[in-house]
Each structure stands twice: as C-alpha cells, then as structure tokens.
Symmetry: C2
Subunit: 141 residues, 2 copies
DNA sequence: CCGAATCCGACAGGATACTG
DNA sequence: CAGTATCCTGTCGGATTCGG
C-alpha cells in the first residue's frame, strides 16, 4: 500500500526553459479547466448523446452552459455535432478521435486524484484548522 | 504523419456510471485550472525557488496572485514553504512528493497538447471563419 | 426537442499602496 | 525581500424568456 512508487525517483519530468511545453500545459488546462467541459466529455466518452440526454446526465448544468460548452468543444474539434432534420429537431453529439484521445489524459488525472485525495484533504484540514481566519480560496474576505 | 495512432482503438477509457472517477477528474482539473497554479508548479519542478525568483520566472503574475497561488498549493500539500529568519526575510518554496507526482500528469497534458494543437487550431480557425458573428468564447457579446 | 438572447450576481484576478 | 490590504474590472455562469 506504499504510495512512494508514484513519488519522484527519476529525472526531472519537466525540463527547464521549455517555454513551449509550459505553454501547451497552460492551453490544455485552461481549455478543460472550466466548470463543465470535463463532465460533458466524460459523459460523451460513453457514447453518442442527444442534448437533453446530456443535460440530464450532467446534473446542475443549465441549457445555456450546455450549449456553450458543446459549441466550444465542437469548435476545437473535440466533439462532432449531427443534426437530424426531424420534427422536433434532434441533434446528436459524439466525441471525435481527438476528443477520445483526451479521455486517456483525463483518466490519468482521475488516477492521480484518487491516489492523492486523502493526502490533500488531510493537509487542507490541518491548514484550515491552524489558520481559521485566512481565506485563501478566493479573494481576501 | 498519421494521427490515428492516438485515436481510440481499445476499450472505453472512462467506464460508465463511475461517479467517483468523474468527481476525481473534476477536483483535479478545478484545482489546477486557475490561471497560475500550473505555471508555478512547472517552475518549482526545476527546484527550490524563492518568492521573487518565482515572480520573475512567471511573467505577468502579480504579488497578490503569487502569494495566493502559493498558499493554496501549500494548503493542499503540493508545496513546502520554508522561512529563514534572516534580515530581510527569506522564504523558500519547493514541491512536495505529492507535488512532484503531479508533474508527471502535467507532462501528459503537455504531450497531448503538443500532439493535437494543430488539429484544434485548424478546427478553431475554420469554425470562426464560418461563424464570424458567433462569440462562443465567453458571454454573448 | 434544441437552442439563442437578455439580464444579473459572484468571484477570480490586476493595480496600487503599505508593512515588517 | 516577502508579503497584506484595498479597490476595481472582466469574465464565468445561473435564471429567465423567446424562437425554430
């Protein structure tokens, strides 16, 4: 049950002075760092979904944000949108190959999160207990 | 130059109905999805850094945001903070083992970004050309 | 069913000035 | 050097309403 096998035992993963690399990370994180993109991608990773289906599968998302999120994903070639000219209209969304390739990365994130959640949570609790008045989460309240 | 070797050829990476997994992804992405955390982590991946060193290494970050970012990272046990009672004060920041383990994940993100940046950018350009008036990036302008 | 348009609140984050 | 405190703005995202 040791955790150390994930700790640093080898070379620096992120080489110094590689601005492009830093830039790439930033772009990706910023892209999927919004409130809903990841949740929509994960749901679409299961297969083709229609609009209402997605809205039900992602609790709390508004119509507006679902639309916006899907448009952005479509714009970035992560999601394909197919309109069937039925009445009423019917639209299907599915991940592109690029979008699917992202799910591998998301899996890595999930694994890291699962492995270190306890450590993070405990540290967080200790920090909050020691500094009850400091509010670092957002602006200085 | 085919890109298909990264496409989906195997099983679904993200199993259906795994709420915990989804939750883990969200937490991680939300945590490092802010404007500065990744940049600070990448810089600290090079080694121990002092406050001013970090500020110079991360162009554009304000004192306020550097402080906030470092506090949050410290709170989550991703960064260690060491104060030397010299005059003037001197403080050193370094990644914890947990923090270092995150750099592996960031490397994955960087690799994905590097590999798919062209695809995304081209799609984005095409989308914008086709819908010049639609502004999906933020609120409806 | 699938959206677009409008209004509005909350918060992240920048600029600046001040402290130890 | 290493922060803190205050003010202010831009942007994200929710609620609601209307259209195809």
């Amino acid at each position: 049950m040791s955790v150390r096998h994930t700790a640093v035992t080898t070379a620096p993963v992120l080489p110094a002075g590689d601005e492009e690399l830093v830039c790439d990370i930033r772009e990706v994180v910023q892209r999927i760092g919004d409130r809903w993109s990841v949740l929509v991608i994960v749901e679409l990773a299961q297969g083709v979904r229609r609009f209402r289906q997605l809205q039900r599968a992602v609790p709390g998302i508004s119509q507006r944000m679902l639309t916006l999120t899907l448009r952005r994903l479509e714009r970035d070639a992560l999601v394909d949108r197919t309109v069937y000219p039925t009445v009423p209209a019917q639209v299907e969304y599915e991940l592109t190959d690029t979008g699917h390739s992202l799910t591998f990365v998301l899996k890595m994130l999930a694994d890291w999160g699962a492995e270190h959640r306890d450590t993070v949570m405990e540290s967080r609790a200790r920090w909050d207990a020691k500094r009850p008045d400091a509010d670092v989460h957002h602006d200085g309240g």
